[in-house]
Structures are given as structure tokens and as C-alpha cells.
Symmetry: C2
Subunit: 307 residues, 2 copies
């Protein structure tokens, strides 16, 4: 129920981190690019296959130590429908490897349209009399600017099929405050969004006390994160902004409850591009990513003990 | 520059409306479904082709009287990558027919990710040394919850390639107010978002005085729309909510400036499913949609004179 499956995997691996799969072709070691351009052509299909092979290599290298992956839709959409096809394959492969899959789509639209998104990404679509699973993620990220209409269809699927979702509350980017930090009565906008998130998920608590409606809370504002952790005791946090964006292990500790639960920290480039910081030519990308993933886990676990 | 191309087409056709292409297979007349299931199989490909044929039929029927189309990504994504491939084809066909294409994607993410979305949807992606156009829309809808970081990459492409964008300000759905109507100082949240939208587009005015950053403002709150029209004199409005959602021509008149410019009104189901309200079996779908489109145009033009 709700985030139980994810929390169970985090506890088993003693690792509250998620591998962000935000691939650009520049991240892919040269030998994989060469192979795929030779095999599929020096064109978009070659590019797509090189990224897929890289994604799979990363997932192979980390599947026994990292509990979840988070493919970011933008990097697949930028390659058009071929990129989306490869995203479907990436999610399928991730599930075969046992990862909990968070599709980072940040969708948000009115009821009937949110219903279509929910069918495509979390649930099933009725096609020619059959229920077809398309993207088939375990969890998605959503934008709540349009209110509960944008969330309810996903929540319905989450309840029916034991899935979950994260709603943008306090984002990690520099201009996140343009709207989110505006004072709204005795709160600020991101607190309003956080309170809505906790309210919308009422009644969906799993065995760890967390609801199916989680929140995205960036690592770059640790004081706000600490306050949100207390404010939203039933809301699981997805924490971007560790590493490249400046968030530290000391910062992200505040996302967790006193049992070391209730949060997962994302890293994308620092894991995907770890090979660029070694002396190698990229043939060591799996080993480099594994070392980086272990270093990240150990870094966070200096501050967080997962019970 | 900015919305000039769209406004020019609206003036030529004397019609400030956009055909929303939000297709579900249930909207497609039976004879088209039968043809495509026979030709491509009783499966997802057959479904995709039936929708494509229907989309094209609608666009053929309206291209001399309706200036723009707005495909809603959700209805294509719900069919997985095959749906996305068909969305690319739909956009390509629309441009061949002379339509201004607004991709209704409501994306919003941090800088580097927004950059990827902007490349995929408005601009070009560098692939194997070449610039590849994927979705290639003229305009997109965006969500500004994450601030200017989520908008700037799109604005850069818009400036460079004479394109434009709409940011969600006041949406037409019942729960739009959950966040948008919260009081924030001496404004409410949607006014804050509107003011940001107008500020972000500064310096991109086209010949009609409108910036490249438009706003989505729902028809279902006419008093708010009237106030926003005065508040945001340089912001072009995309107006959903006419027809099925309850907005009337009398309501939407407030979206326009005193020259009858600066806004476009969307209709999706009322045009796509017009054939369901005739006595026919769906073979008359083009004629039915054309009649509905003309009726909508004439209805709005009772209140709005386009100079």
C-alpha cells in the first residue's frame, strides 16, 4: 500500500537513494556510441539505442544496491517518439531488474485529461477491448497547480493498483521561489501545496504511516525541508538537488523521520557521469557509477540510520 | 514575432477559435474504426491509425475556417509511444494544412530539463551532428509553478524561432482555485502567476503589442478574466472552458482587447464529437464539425468584432 514497497526496498538495501535516468547522448561513453552508430546508423535510432544500452548498463551495475530509478521524461521526449519508445523499454527493463520506477513526468491537467495521463503512465488504457499497459510506472511526479482535479485520477489508480505519486511542493531550482515563496495568509505557497498534498492523500496510509501522495522537496533549502518534515508527517518526500545542485548529506537528513524513513534522495548526473571523473575512457562506467552510488549511500547514511 | 502569426490568421479568417484535438477512440465514427482495425489489426496500431484518420478528416474539414489546432498530449501519451508517433504525424499534417499548432503539454521543470523539453517540442535536438526537429509545434502550454527556470529555455527558442508559449494562470476546472485562489498579500495566486507571465515576456512584443508569453485563462470565471485582461495588457490569452465546461460566448468576450484581439478560444469535444448530435451514423462527421465550428465562430463574433 502506498509507499510500502519502496520503503521496504530501501530498508532491505539500507540505501534511501534513487538513480535519476536523465540521459543525454554526451553522457554515453564513446565505445557505446560507436557500437550503436555502427549497428543502427549514425542517426536518431543510433542515438536512442546508445542511450538505452547505457541505461541498461547503469541499471545492471546498481540493481543490488540502489532500490529505485527515476527516468525523466524530458530527455526521452526530446528524441521524439523513438525516445518515448525507448523510455517504455527502459521502464520495462528497470522492473525486470527489481527497481521501483518513478516516472518523472510532472504532469498536471484537468480531470478528463489527467485521467488520460493516469491511464498512460500508471494504469492501463482500454484498447480494442483489451487493457493495455503502456508506460507502466510504479509512481509518477505531478504538478498540483490545477488542484485536486489534476491529482484524483492518479490517486484512484494508485489506490486500485498499489502505486503512488509525488506532487511538487518545494522545488530545488533557484527560481523555485518565484511563486512558491509568496506569502499566502499565514503560510507561503509551498506550504499551502504541502498541506493540500497531505490532505488529498488522507486515508491511504501504508504500514509505515505514509500516504500514496508524496511530495517533491528540494535538498537546497534544508531549513524549509526540516519544517516541512514536521508539518507533513504522512507525506513521503522525493528529494532532488543532492550533489550537482549543491545539496549535501547533512542537508538531506532533515527529509527523514526519526526511524530514518519517509524519504528518498535523487542523484542523476553524479551517478550517470561518474566515469567522466576517472582516468578511463568510459569502459569503466559501470564500476565508476557503482563507486559513486556507494559513496552517496554511505555519505547519507552517516546522518541517517534506517530502521 | 510572438503571437503575430496566430493573430494574423485569426484576422484573416475572422475566427478567434482553436480546434482542440483531444481524441479518444470513442469519438471516432464506427466506419473509420472498422476500416483501420481491418487494415492495421484489432489492436493498438489499429486504434492509433483510426484516431489519426479522424484527426486528419477534422483538419481537412476546418482548415479554411479555423486558424489553429491544439493537440492535447495526454490523449496521445495514453497510447504509449505509438500515440506519440501519431502526435508527431498529426502536428506535421496540421502544419501542412496551414494551422498554427499549439501543443498542449503543460510541461514545467527545472532549467536543464526544461531545456530538453524545449528542444523536443518547440526547437530542434542535436542528434548525430544534425539538428533534428521532433514535435515541432509553433507554441506550447507550460506550468510556471517552478518559476522562470521552467520558462526561460522555451522563451529562448520562441525568440530565436518566432514561436510562443502559454503559461497556466487561471484554469477553467472546478478545483483550479485550490491553489490559484489563495490570497497572497494584496493579490491572489493566479494574479501573481499572471504578473510573472507578463514580466517574463518583457521585450518580446510583436506588432499587435502582445508578448511571446501568453496565459491560459479559463472561460468559466468571466469576472476574473475581465480583470486579468486589464491587468495583463501584453499577454495573449488561450481560453479553455467554452462549451462543454460551461463557458459562453458572452463570458469569453472579456478575454479580448478593444480591437477584438489578444485571445483565442478552444473547443475540443463540441467540435470533435459534433457528429454524435446528428441523426447520421458518423459518415457526416466532417460536415457536422464544420457546422459546429461555424456556429461557434458566429456565436463568439456576436460579442467580439475582430479589427
Amino acid at each position: 500500500m502506498s509507499f510500502d514497497k519502496l520503503q521496504d526496498q530501501i530498508r532491505t538495501m539500507k540505501n534511501p537513494t534513487v538513480l535519476g535516468l536523465d540521459p543525454r547522448i554526451e553522457y554515453v561513453p564513446q565505445h557505446i556510441q560507436d557500437e550503436c552508430y555502427a549497428e543502427f546508423g549514425h542517426n536518431i535510432q543510433g542515438t536512442v539505442e546508445a542511450i538505452y544500452r547505457f541505461n541498461c548498463g547503469l541499471m545492471d551495475a546498481l540493481c543490488d544496491i540502489v532500490p529505485a530509478v527515476k527516468p525523466q521524461a524530458a530527455y526521452y521526449e526530446m528524441l521524439g517518439w523513438r525516445g518515448m519508445e525507448m523510455m517504455e523499454r527502459t521502464i520495462r527493463y528497470a522492473k525486470e531488474k527489481g527497481y521501483y520506477v518513478i516516472a518523472d513526468i510532472k504532469r498536471g491537467d484537468i480531470g478528463s485529461t489527467a485521467q488520460a495521463y493516469a491511464e498512460g503512465w500508471l494504469g492501463k488504457t482500454k484498447v480494442a477491448g483489451e487493457d493495455v499497459e503502456n508506460f507502466g510506472a510504479d509512481c509518477v511526479t505531478l504538478n498540483g497547480y490545477m488542484g485536486i482535479d489534476a491529482i484524483q485520477p492518479f490517486l484512484d489508480v494508485a489506490k486500485a493498483e498499489d502505486k503512488s505519486l509525488f506532487i511538487l511542493v518545494k522545488t530545488s531550482n533557484p527560481s523555485g521561489g518565484d511563486l512558491q515563496d509568496m506569502v499566502a495568509g499565514d503560510r507561503v505557497v509551498y506550504q499551502v501545496m504541502g498541506d493540500l498534498t497531505e490532505r488529498w492523500g488522507a486515508g491511504t496510509e501504508g504500514k509505515y504511516g505514509y500516504q500514496a501522495t508524496g511530495a517533491v522537496v528540494g535538498a537546497t533549502y534544508p531549513a524549509d525541508m526540516k519544517e516541512l518534515r514536521q508539518r507533513l508527517p504522512k507525506t513521503f518526500f522525493l528529494v532532488p538537488g543532492y550533489g550537482a545542485q549543491g545539496g549535501t548529506a547533512e542537508d538531506v537528513q532533515y527529509a527523514f523521520d526519526s526511524y530514518g524513513r519517509g524519504a528518498i534522495v535523487n542523484a542523476s548526473r553524479s551517478l550517470m557521469c561518474a566515469w567522466k571523473k576517472t582516468d578511463g575512457d568510459g569502459r569503466d562506467f559501470q564500476e565508476a557509477s557503482r563507486k559513486a552510488a556507494i559513496a552517496m549511500r554511505d555519505d547519507i547514511c552517516k546522518y541517517v540510520t534506517i530502521l
